[in-house]
């Protein structure tokens, strides 16, 4: 086992790790090279499964001993029965899916709880870049140039909270992360990244 000391754990991963109960089942949509899933399997004894579109990332996941499906998120959820997983994770992947509404609905159907993590487009650095420089922002959490970004949706914390209200989605926990520490005040202005723990509210 490659021993990862907790200091090296990404702050968003640490937040998610804190929310997931031990011994549960987790589906990570857009699991990348499987770092979070490996952590969850090791530290939370979670039964983990990933979906990832990038072939190289699949090889990394398999090398970590993870079970992964090589496919895109947009079509990857339909096969699962309702409430198949205790948690479905959409960390830094929601903004990249084509049909966001469908993916959200499917994630909330398949997972008893859903974790959504995304870069906050209304963070003050982004606002300043648009307002004063008139340019599409490039920041720590949104590091891509306008012509070379995998992101299809640019959303803010307020946008997502409103979206949840409109769709009758229950918000159970939220965490707002800055560059170094969590953000307590005016998160829509200061937070780089937001993470929500939500559910359809039916269960």
């Amino acid at each position: 086992m490659s021993g990862v000391d907790s200091g090296a754990v990404r702050s968003d991963h640490r937040t998610i790790l804190g929310w997931i109960r031990s011994g549960t089942s987790v589906l990570d949509l857009g699991c990348g090279n499987g770092v979070l899933l490996e952590l969850l399997a090791r530290e939370k004894s979670a039964r983990v499964q990933g979906i990832e579109v990038d072939e190289q990332a699949i090889y990394d996941c398999v090398a970590k001993g993870l079970s992964v499906f090589h496919e895109d998120i947009d079509g990857g959820l339909t096969a699962y029965a309702d409430a198949s997983f205790d948690y479905v994770i959409l960390n830094q992947s929601l903004q990249q899916v084509r049909r966001l509404d469908d993916v959200m609905r499917e994630a909330l159907r398949v997972g008893k709880r859903v974790v959504v993590g995304f870069p906050n487009f209304a963070q003050y650095r982004s606002r300043f870049q648009i307002f004063f420089r008139g340019k599409t922002p490039v920041t720590t959490s949104l590091p891509f140039a306008w012509h070379d970004t995998p992101n299809l949706h640019f959303l803010t914390i307020s946008d997502f909270a409103l979206y949840c209200r409109e769709k009758n989605i229950c918000i159970h926990q939220v965490s707002f992360l800055g560059r170094k520490r969590s953000v307590r005040f005016f998160p829509n202005f200061f937070a780089h990244v937001a993470i929500f723990l939500i559910s359809s509210g039916r269960a």
């Binding site: 072939e55 699949i58 001993g65 096969a79």
Partner: protein, 385 residues
Amino acid sequence: MSISNAELRSDQSVGIVETQYYRFADPPQRFVLESGEELGPITVAYETYGVLNEHNSNAVLILHALTGDAHAAGRHAGETRPGWWEEMIGPGKAFDTDKYYVICSNVLGGCKGTTGPASINPETGKRYDLDFPVITISDLVKVQCRLIDALGIDRLLAVAGGSMGGMQGLEWLTAHRERLHSAIIIASAARHSPQQIAFNEVGRQAIMADPAWRDGRYGGNPPAKGLAVARMIGHITYMSEGSMAEKFGRRLSDELPSHRFSNGFEVEEYLRYNGHRFVERFDANSYLYITKAMDTFDISRGRALHHALARVKAKVMLVAFKSDWLYPVAQSREIARACKLADVDTTYCEIDSTYGHDAFLLEVEEESHLVKHFLIKVSQQLERV
């Protein structure tokens, strides 16, 4: 891709190997086939590489494709050509013979040492030919069960195969689920599509249209032309448009055109050469029986596919190749989807290869990486139990 070369020690081989034979269903016993017909005695040609551990828990069964045989790795004494999956089986390779006891057997109905239509029927003293009963993929796998019984193996660490080998793997997974811990299914299908059946039927028609076929009673004078054409069709379906363009282009062959309408293109010469070479090593009736077994195979047996996979506890790895149009990725995705619904612990990978169906024998680097780490994980989970 960034898979390190240190992972692959392709220079290592299992060395000189010998085919062994196991015989069962001697009279008065008979082996009952899925059709209800009986057959016996049955000889199974097989090879093993590596050492069976003291718990008999490190056995991996390799399942060959349509025209494969038991000789999967190493070399036979006096021969230069290695086994058909030499790049994947050996010390330090994907199927690591330092760790695993690797078994490969020729399928029932084959012509490489296992009982098939070209074998002598003990009741008549002559070749079975078309008296050989109709066989199914399920029969092929039941014969393999008898072999691993004889080898003292209760439960396989893994079964692995591509194409028709993958079909046998699916049959193992569903019909003998208590006898394996994992299955590696490469470039395969839960059932043949009309297109796959159509290509097999053209191959069969080519054999039967050859006057030398003589209703299967050709003895020592096989329907060479028909079998060669069947193989040529096969070869076309194993490649991709891209890989053919790359391999042959419109280059002309050095050989003189063999018939009036030949254009002398390299691709024509390649097909003719491989067609004729195939006749030397394969029996035409075996081709008919085995392709029929492939075409009738349907793991779902009329149910929804995920019902067939219900209660499968084995871990599954599915691999498909993007340019494979004979066993297109959609067929592997269908299995992957059914595995999700049946809650089977599954990994699915689509390798971006240009080789077409042949990729399962050629994309060694990617396949090795996947298989190697998958088997390590399966072994670890076994140790923990």
